[in-house]
């Protein structure tokens, strides 16, 4: 009897059953929850069926939610753009084989393996107006900034949160781009140089077009991780001041675990998922087209 079960079933069942139980089941459960009312503080089991009311309320008149959508857009677009440009510039700079560059390449892994919660805490420390080194350094370079309290200013708090996330991710993304650069055949660049193209033209017309798939992966992956970002925001700004750095992921956490409004939180979480599904689609297409 057992002999007739094909090998791949034995091999796949543990992992796939687990992924189904721990990823797909909660995903479905959450969806059902998003159509119901459930204030955990008042009732132990999910309450009445609301249909699309949770979604409707979120999108029509919840300013806190709409603010968090805006905060997410600002956070994600700035975070992704800065990370991508920094990673590209750093990779181009580091691709030459020098001793300092190989040291730099080793160091690039360090921010990535650091706890994002710790990174948030550390940035909080650096930006402290009294004894934070970062605060004083910025104030020294731009005297106009010397009196600003970073985490009390809505714009600067957002800048701080983005900076912390960029610090965490840009080095790793640099490694990814470096990997992409290494896989480009050197001959194409040499040929262009022999034809008299300047370095800038080589970069624009030869290197970048070949690097496109890798940059696409960086773009999408970073967007996904920016949409999911929570730890750094929690430990750095706590979503504040006010709700200025409260992104969607943080809003869901607040709604569920501070206001105990489970159905409403699930609906908000699903709107976030919608954004991620779009990213996932493009990512998988990019990955499997080759």
């Amino acid at each position: 009897m057992l002999r007739r079960v094909p090998l791949h079933v034995w091999l796949l069942t543990p992992a796939l059953a687990f992924v189904a139980a721990m990823a797909l089941f909660p995903l479905g459960y959450s969806l059902l929850l998003s159509f119901r009312s459930w204030k955990l503080a008042q009732q132990d089991t999910p309450g009445q069926w609301l249909g699309l009311d949770n979604y409707w309320n979120l999108l029509s008149d919840d300013t806190e939610f709409l603010d968090s959508v805006w905060a997410t857009l600002v956070f994600v677009s700035a975070d992704v753009a800065v990370t991508l440009l920094l990673a590209l510039a750093a990779a181009l700079l580091l691709q030459r084989e020098t001793r300092m560059n190989s040291l730099a390449r080793v160091l690039l892994i360090l921010p990535f393996v650091m706890s994002p919660a710790l990174i948030g805490v550390s940035f909080r420390f650096f930006l402290n107006p009294e004894f934070g080194v970062g605060h004083h350094l910025v104030g020294w370079i731009f005297p106009a900034m010397a009196d600003k309290v970073w985490l009390a200013d809505t714009t600067l708090a957002m800048v701080a949160v983005i900076a912390a996330d960029v610090w965490h991710w840009a080095p790793y993304m640099t490694l990814v781009v470096l990997g992409g650069l290494a896989s480009i055949p050197k001959e194409t660049q040499e040929a262009a140089r022999i034809d008299g193209a300047s370095e800038w033209v080589v970069l624009r017309d030869v290197t970048l077009p070949q690097l496109k798939p890798v940059l696409g992966v960086v773009l999408i992956l970073k967007t996904v991780f920016a949409l999911k970002a929570f730890d750094t925001i929690f430990t750095l700004s706590n979503g504040g001041p006010g709700t200025s750095t409260q992104t969607l992921a943080y809003f869901v956490y607040q709604t569920a675990f501070n206001y105990y409004d489970m159905g409403y939180a699930a609906a908000a979480a699903y709107l976030l998922t919608a954004a991620l599904v779009v990213c996932a689609f493009f990512y998988l297409r990019l990955l499997f087209r080759k």
Binding site: L11, L16, F18, V19, M100, V121, F230
Partner: protein, 291 residues
Amino acid sequence: MQASSTVAQSSIPGYRTPLQERVLQALRQALVLAGISSIVLPILWMMLTAFKLPRDVYSLDSALVFTPTLENLVTIFQHPWNLGSKALNSVLVASGTVLLAVPMATLAAYAFSRLEFRFKKALFLTVIASQFIPGAVVVLPYFLMFKELGMLDTRSALVLINLSIVLPYAVWMIKGFIDAVPIEMEESAMVDGAQRWRVLWEIVVPVALPGIITAAVFSFTLTWNEFLFALILGKQDALTLPLGLIGFRTERGDLWELMAAGGLLITAPMFLLSLLVHRQFIGSLTAGAVR
């Protein structure tokens, strides 16, 4: 003659005089140095702070010159911080996750790499896509599920959750390494009459071992640093190190020197691990994007 050749050279686009070249080189080095500093200095700053007395933490005059102390590293293990028990939780949760994830992922990766079966692509896509599920969406069902099971604030619950986070990555990474194992090695063993299981265990696993170790280190790192689920499921018994950090935010304000000492405790093992498998690590962490 000389003059004309200089003219000819400098009219070639992209040609730079030695002086220009040297200036450019210096500029590049300066930029690399700036990049290195922006990575290293914050880390160094945190590490220095861990060895400072409070009075040195709260004064910029003693930023670099101060009398080092080990007091903070002792204090964090004492009541009420008890980072010792949190470190133990972190070690147990991360090792438990890795010990379960690696065999499961290796089996699945082998099937995806070597066998042909129906729905292979769809199943693989599902596994890969599950890493896109935001924690914010599944955290509610997890919370309710583990509440129902009476497993809130337990290490087992954290192991299960982290397992679901790292499995897709591990399957993907290990598959990449198995793909690179020459299939001839397996074929010749099979000709000799070896069973698939034995081929997997005696040939594929040893050859792909560096990759499997890399996937294990990666999974360990993700679990070690995991914050959101530990925050929501943990109360007092199953708190992990990253949560220990927010404990240093007290009514008296943030206790930076203790946070830094705790930060050192979280970070040092990860730095050692990642530098240990550095070459492999970078190769496989970036391969997915490049391949």
